[in-house]
Amino acid sequence: MKYSVLFIASILIVAVFIAGCTQQPATQQPSTTQGVIKVGVIASLTGPASNVGTNMWQSAQVAADKINSEGGVILKDGSKAQIRLIVADDESTQQGGQKAATKLITDDKVDILVGGYSSAVTSSYQQTIAEHRIPYIVTGASSPIITRRTDIDTSYVFHHCPTTDAYGQYTTLFIDQVVRPAVNKKLSAPADRPFRLALLYQDTAFGKGIQTAVNNTITKNNLNIQLVSQESFKMGDSDFRTQLTKIKAASPDAVYLGAFPNEGAPIITQARRDTNLNTIFLNAENNDNAQFYKDLGQYGEGAIIESRFSPYIAPVGAVADAQNEFKQSYFARFGTYPDMMGASTYDGVFIATQVIENAGTTDKAAVRQALIDLEMPQIIEAMKDQTCSFSSDFRESTFDLWMEQLAYNATIGETRPVIVWPDNLKTADFVLPSWYVAGSSS
């Protein structure tokens, strides 16, 4: 009995030790012992969103390396400070998010926070942010509730990531202006034929945000789009065949997915392979991720991704060089390509550094004011007026977005994107694939 107890105790200790292996905050030491600015990064390093979360953390490191190599931050007294990143894993869960935020704020005493993926997870620890009044630049969670909720003080939260309102509206307008005419042309249907759109969305603030944005955009703009099916699924689900069968029965012209990459890839694969739903799938921007392309294989052909940063393409213009430099630095260090959430986190670390420099201090209220007053040239993501700033009402950045269509490359066995909208950025025209089947022509 004595040995049994000892054995179980040993097992538990080992379990806690190993479990802790993924939860201990990693740090990136600055190369100087002078002043240090501590930037906390909240990312999903484990759990279903770990692919995106790891990308965010690694992108933050690339940003910190660049900032520190260029001299760091200049404070009010003229002294220079290096930035030191401290990461905390939200474990892709709400409880994990609360632990991560609390640890960074109370134990590590960070000066500013960057990161946050999944609106459900990020919103779970906003009370902690409000209580400690620490500036937080959210770079991954896209529900507008992040800065618009009224039950909690969000005045220290700044949203450097397009909201589901923004890209839901953008994608719906793309459907109306580009996909609908193409389908009508294929069917030789009159221009007033209603476009049959189906939604399949994650049952979270993120997925519901897209659903709401699509519905509102159709109503507000009186678009000739009919929502023929609106199906949901639980976050992290991997079997979507029943919902897809139901959607196929509704005979849609296209399906808009409110899904994470680990959900979007199996949805499209199961749709095309298992249910013969040969239609256009429109994806939210978080799917512009190297693993997403890999998992999709040939089934990604013809799919659409709303984007603002892609591992495989950059828009013609001012940010192309900056994006390519970031991708090369990232690839050189990690052997893979950064994704969109990584890009906004890279931006986020630069913004955090700039506002502390502008404030000249790490005083939280002063840094918050510097965020409100921010007018900074765009970094690697294309911003409205080529400037990083936050709106005066809900502290949201405004991005220049674009739409990509995926084309299959048999040599690499994956699809690669081309930009098809808007006209000033596009590198190719939108096309309906030869296998595409439109909805019923009614």
Partner: protein, 292 residues
């Protein structure tokens, strides 16, 4: 697609999901039936089985349906080690010990898998990807027919093993009355090892069939299926293999029926609604006997 076609397709997806549940729950019930232990880490054996198959497939390119046997053999070994060094020392010391031990094992296996294979999701492409057979108004991918065939073959093999072999009969005897089995000379500790190993092998088969169907996987994939497997064995009756089979099929059909009729968010909840109803009407489960 007509209504009948849609209905048949939903039934088909339910049967497919049921196959995975049957294998997982039968393994769990085999272990519970013989050893009467509560192992919440059973889903992690599904995960390890999936990774072993995927790793061999990625390295060798061998047909994953053939690797299923290797994966099951590997899990028999892993299961035997876990039984011998983890569960046997605490056998009979109380359910709380078993629960905490299995929770600890969940962390160990998940984090161990993340260290070995990383915790990024992965997918396997079946060699039969894209091949479908016509079935009425719709076509069925060959992979799903193979999954159902392999499930039936494995369950039939288990049935014959339990009915026709000496070890199988000893396992049934131990399941029915452990002390009685000891009195007639059965080495129950040996039977425990074999039962645990076989249960883990069935989980490995479930994991392999999960990934060949094109579903993504990562080290955390086993947690939810394990909870559902517990619901299935309670639904079907603790220790009852036929109960696990019927319960697994019911669970698969109910989940997909609920997703179709009520929406995807009801998919997980409906299983537990059915479980509660069955327990209220028949507390021993569908096939359970008093005293289980």
């Amino acid at each position: 697609m007509d209504n009948l076609g849609v209905f048949l397709q939903i039934i088909f997806w339910g049967l497919y999901a049921g196959c995975i549940y049957i294998l997982l729950a039968t393994g769990l019930n085999l272990i519970f039936g013989v050893m009467k232990i509560v192992n919440f880490a059973h889903g992690e054996f599904l995960m390890i089985g999936a990774y072993i198959t995927a790793t061999i497939f990625f390295i060798s390119g061998i047909n994953p349906y053939l690797i299923i046997l290797l994966s099951m053999l590997a899990l028999i070994g892993i299961g035997a080690v876990v039984e011998r060094f983890c569960f046997r020392p605490i056998l009979g010391t109380g359910k709380l010990n078993e629960i905490f031990l299995s929770i600890g094992l969940i962390y160990i296996f998940q984090n161990g898998a993340a260290l070995i294979w990383t915790d990024e999701w992965q997918s396997v492409k079946s060699p039969y990807d894209g091949i479908s057979l016509p079935f009425g108004s719709f076509s069925i991918p060959l992979d799903y027919i193979l999954i159902m065939f392999f499930t039936a073959a494995i369950i039939c093999g288990l049935y014959l093993f339990l009915k026709k072999t000496t070890i199988g009969m000893q396992m049934r005897a131990t399941s029915q009355n452990r002390k009685g089995a000891m009195l007639v000379g059965i080495d129950v500790e040996r039977i425990d090892v074999i039962s645990f190993g076989l249960g883990c092998a069935l989980a490995a088969a479930a994991g392999t069939l999960w990934i060949v169907s094109g579903q993504i996987f990562n080290p955390y994939m086993g947690s939810i299926p394990a909870i559902k497997a517990f619901a299935i064995i309670i639904l079907g009756g603790l220790g009852s293999i036929p109960g696990a089979i019927i319960g697994g099929l019911l669970m698969g059909l109910a989940e997909n029926g609920a997703a179709f009729l009520l929406g995807g968010i009801w998919k997980d909840a409906i299983s537990f609604v059915i479980l509660i109803i069955v327990l209220v009407v028949r507390p021993t489960g569908l096939f359970g006997e008093k005293g289980d």
